[in-house]
Symmetry: none
């Protein structure tokens, strides 16, 4: 089966100049991939005719489906409709159906048409109109030599409505699409190149219709398998077998699959076993708490946390011994251990996590340089600690320590014999 | 002066397939625009050689500067380096400087090199190496016929470091750029359309070489003035006069300028007056603490925080009256007030901030729907509270409440008579 290729063309100066973050192209990619259309390229250009015509011409050569967003507003800086009319050698005229829908849309909002808004119902004769249930600019569909151009508004909820109700169903009818199946294995506690080294043989033996990608963020690595074929059940089977084969090699690093996150998996495990968690965060400054509590329903297992930025607070609110801090310092194995054990007792939780380190960029010494982080995890089976030497970048250190701390807790929950 | 044009080429299947939202291109656009380089086009392609070569060839024809991110990982799915070597007809060899920096980077993390990681130091002979202080893949700079190709890693913090330290300074040297002057006015506590309405006359009277953009994020709006010309002093003068003219119209919403953030401005004010802050965060779950502590040096004025996810903790660790919670509920004016006042007393801080609300998506009732948030700010001059009805989206609610809480504190610090 021939791959069906698409290009997404986003039009708008505001995106080129970094004033608007384009989330449309991202969402459209997901949707197209989901129905087996391969996104070959995404292009963003400004509102100039020359750039548009050039992009349309190239797209028509390279791909089967061209999805265009933006530049459909009624004001003079929006020129997509005129460019498409020129590209398809078509006159623009008032479209009766578009006009009726526009009038109805405006009436439903208690508004009447003005000259500018009326123009929204004028369309190239050569195109099929696509209804816009959520706004004033209709979509346009052009066909030429087996290629399809579709133009949609840039307003995200209008574009999404049009994609869902009209464009995706239409593309499924027009093209003979393959089935695509994604499976994601989620790992933590190992770097990308070490992971790749461990599974090299397995990766080299992947069949040609299944591709692997590594997607790392701050010590958390997604391994994504993409399988392409004609039979969904077959693809699922094939992929599942591959996943089963790789699990024994990297089992201790795998924490979940697909949409799992470290925090959601930990949450599920804690909830399942009726266990609770409390945190004492010094160098991570509340970030672990945020990551835990951004999960809906986290109040079921999260007792709370203390961010003790001053030593007195570590002593008073967590029960750390003053002598420990004096003897070993706040950033030390001994202190972080007492912080974790202290918050567990004070909050009456089953598990406790603690961080203490020099987040930077200042505050380092020769003995305790910036980036030195101590983490502790405590629970019914005792306490373990971990020392890390990270970077000079405060945010990077916070993010990396957070993943590392959650990974420690996850390991503990996995090792626990729950029976 | 001839415009200097750039194209941003993002490489990675994961972006094409919609699994990763590309924020790199957006950030790079802002930075390039900031130094007077016009972004002509953004292109995203997959990791296939043919697509890359085609994109490089076209970019070389259309623009002066080509910035490439992604595809530099050590694994076999990353092919950018090989493609660039082919495009520039260059052999790949071990680069001594890159190897030394790689070794030092790994050593600083207490790690040694493996075969895959070693490969990161191999570079096309034809390129100039760009140091990567935050990761293992060096950048590459190629010059040909007055055009410049620069390849950087796709990991955002690595790319940003490289852009800031090497790429932007180098581009300023290589090209004759117009003078661009940016002035940012930072506001909070007012919506974008209300702000725009208030300053409509002022905005309409802006000269043609000065443009205004609104850049809103969760209740925090940057108004960015971009002035283009040939004489920096003249541009600064012109812009400063415009800023002075708009201040009286929106003074109560302005909290800072340029790189200021609410948290950095608050930090500066607290430090200057020798005041301290403590937080009691229920619905914001640690996010305000994170925002405060991600500012370097925040330990000078931040005492710490409690995230009391359970009612008992509000009582025990913050001194909230059990009767208050029973009578009014945890999400109420009375409770949030006692939380703020309690954390101020317990931590001995000058100011206290507290949040309590239904972050969602579950947990709402008819009387207290999802999105209902109470905030309290307390200090030497008493306590004030604020009620907000936000959205059904948990993260949106957390981010909006955080900005609103910091804005409350900022207002208090501004109103205080410090003499």
């Amino acid at each position: 089966m021939k791959e069906v290729l698409a290009e997404i063309i986003t039009i708008g100066d505001e995106i080129l100049y970094g004033q608007t973050l384009d989330t449309n192209a991202h969402w459209m990619s997901e949707e197209l991939t989901g129905i087996g259309i391969k996104v070959f390229r995404k292009t963003t250009i400004g509102d100039q005719e020359a750039a548009m015509i050039q992009a349309f011409r190239r797209a028509e050569k390279d791909v089967d489906i061209i999805l265009i967003t933006g530049g459909l507003g009624p004001t003079s800086d929006d020129r997509t409709k005129e460019c498409l009319a020129r590209f398809f050698d078509s006159a623009i005229e008032m479209n009766a159906q578009a006009f009726a829908e526009l009038e109805a849309f405006m009436a439903s909002r208690g508004k009447t048409l003005n000259t500018l808004t009326r123009k929204q119902a004028e369309l190239p004769l050569r195109c099929e109109m696509i209804s816009n249930l959520r706004g004033t600019a209709p979509g346009m569909l052009f066909k030429r030599n087996g290629k399809v151009f579709i133009s949609m508004p840039g307003v995200p909820h209008e574009m999404r409505g049009m994609m869902t109700h009209s464009v995706l169903p239409e593309l499924k009818k027009l093209f003979d699409l393959p089935i695509i199946y994604h499976k994601i294995i989620r790992t933590a506690g190992i770097g990308e190149s070490w992971l790749a080294e461990k599974i090299e043989d397995w990766e080299n033996a992947l069949p040609s219709n299944i591709q692997l990608a590594y997607l790392p963020t701050f010590g958390d690595i997604k391994m994504r398998l993409t399988a392409v074929g004609k039979d969904l059940d077959l693809l699922i089977n094939e992929t599942d077998l591959l996943v089963e084969a790789v699990i024994p090699i990297i089992e201790k690093y795998i924490y979940g699959y697909d949409d799992d996150t470290l925090e959601s998996v930990i949450g599920r495990m804690l909830k399942k076993h009726g266990q609770t968690l409390a945190l004492a965060e010094s160098c991570t400054g509340g970030y672990i708490s945020h990551v835990i509590t951004k999960v809906p329903g986290s109040s079921d297992y999260f007792e709370g946390s203390v961010v003790p930025y001053k030593n007195d607070m570590k002593i008073e609110h967590l029960g750390v011994q003053r002598e420990t801090i004096i003897q070993y310092g706040a950033v030390s194995e001994e202190t972080v251990r007492e912080m974790a054990e202290g918050v567990r007792i004070k909050f009456g939780s089953d598990y406790g996590l603690a961080s203490s380190g020099i987040a930077g960029p200042g505050g380092g010494t020769e003995e305790k340089p910036v980036g030195l982080i101590w983490l502790a995890c405590t629970g019914p089976d005792g306490t373990n600690v971990r020392k890390m030497q990270l970077t000079n970048d405060r945010m990077v250190n916070i993010r990396f320590s957070t993943v590392a701390a959650l990974h420690m807790l996850h390991q503990r929950l996995c090792e626990k014999d729950w029976d």
